[in-house]
Symmetry: C2
Subunit: 227 residues, 2 copies
Amino acid sequence: MKDRAETRTLAGDAYAVIHRAIRSGLLKPGQRLRFAELQALCGMSVSPVREALVRLTAEGFTVSDDHRGFSVAPLSVAELLDIVATRKLLEGEALRLSIENGDSEWEGRLLAAHHMMSRLPRERDDLPTAIREDWDLRHADFHRILISACGSPILIELCEKLFVRADRYRRLSVSVPKQDRDVVREHERIMSCAIDRNAEEAVAALKDHYQRTADAVQRLFEMQEAL
Amino acid sequence: MKDRAETRTLAGDAYAVIHRAIRSGLLKPGQRLRFAELQALCGMSVSPVREALVRLTAEGFTVSDDHRGFSVAPLSVAELLDIVATRKLLEGEALRLSIENGDSEWEGRLLAAHHMMSRLPRERDDLPTAIREDWDLRHADFHRILISACGSPILIELCEKLFVRADRYRRLSVSVPKQDRDVVREHERIMSCAIDRNAEEAVAALKDHYQRTADAVQRLFEMQEAL
DNA sequence: GAGGATAGGATTTTCGAAAATGTCGGTGCC
DNA sequence: GGCACCGACATTTTCGAAAATCCTATCCTC
């Protein structure tokens, strides 16, 4: 049961495979990407692989240097902070709008999504990959639904892109030891404020949630740097 | 002196050519894009053309339907309003940050950019293309510089993308007759508030500026619909 | 030895054709 | 008549190799 997904084109498959390889860390930040290797990884010719890289580059997962090839986009504290600051702005506003516009069907979906997530153990290093990926999926769903009623397709699209762009950093945060946070509780608070239509509190809770993740990852970076 | 720009790859040229053709209206919203035609237009083989289309699709200028080809992204009032609302949010915040962080060198660049723009006649339908394009460039520069000191590369990147995405609509607004606006004055007001470090007023002026353009285009849409 | 030119190999980029897929109209069956 | 099936054509997608470009190591000159 391979994850990569019989999309309708090989290029789509290649995109999925490489995207996953980058997010999972199989392809490391900064690593040079050679066509020969990627073709072997994806099991296809150069054209769809190149197409996938072009798409990934447009989304910031890889960088391209004309005639010199592609490489995995590097990670940095600066980018992390920038992503988080921008997400606070965008998702904060999107959540505010969702609370304004969302109907009870939205509330229901939100409750359901949170329930699905809270039934699974919180992400940890030592969990099997399958469970962690399941948690990731549900976590992503929760945040997606949170802003889904904002009424602005562009805002949703931008938030989605920043969410996946933050993913590599988020995975890092999982391996930060002894964080004094209760992630389930954080999500719960966002949700209950939202359902209470308390926009200010909900947005504050969401921003706080992001900031905590950012702080954890930043500590990790600084620890690594100290080596 | 062809505009399209001996970039370092043919795909880059193709991107520039098609991008320009879409923005100029040579390729119309919704129009089906056949490889044969684009290859003739760009004077190259299918591979670089396809790469250009993939990039354009990632940026929202074209849409792709697997195995059925690409087409120019359609225009709609809904998208226009969404773009404007999102730009108000993003550029508003970016401007606020720029005012907070910008130094006097930034002020200088802003003054210069505004001067460059105001020396050219305001865009009008009947002006030669070259002058209009020159105005476009300077106008883009002004807005770019306005937010350039915000300190957030991601915010800048997102604003830039929305700016070009708004371009097709902006061109429409030029052909709206007898608008009671003074566009030069509007820019001037934004700039002077910014230099006075009056963030609130500057942001309000910027948002107002965008809203006026949106209103003009929306009227145009409604007129066309009434036909 | 330093620095610059250069040949050879490695890699990306582009091409032209083959393969895959979609489209459209016609044919036969109910 | 309506509808599913089939086949020819149009178009996109993918392939494998050629062309273009970059990198590296070597040689030559000073």
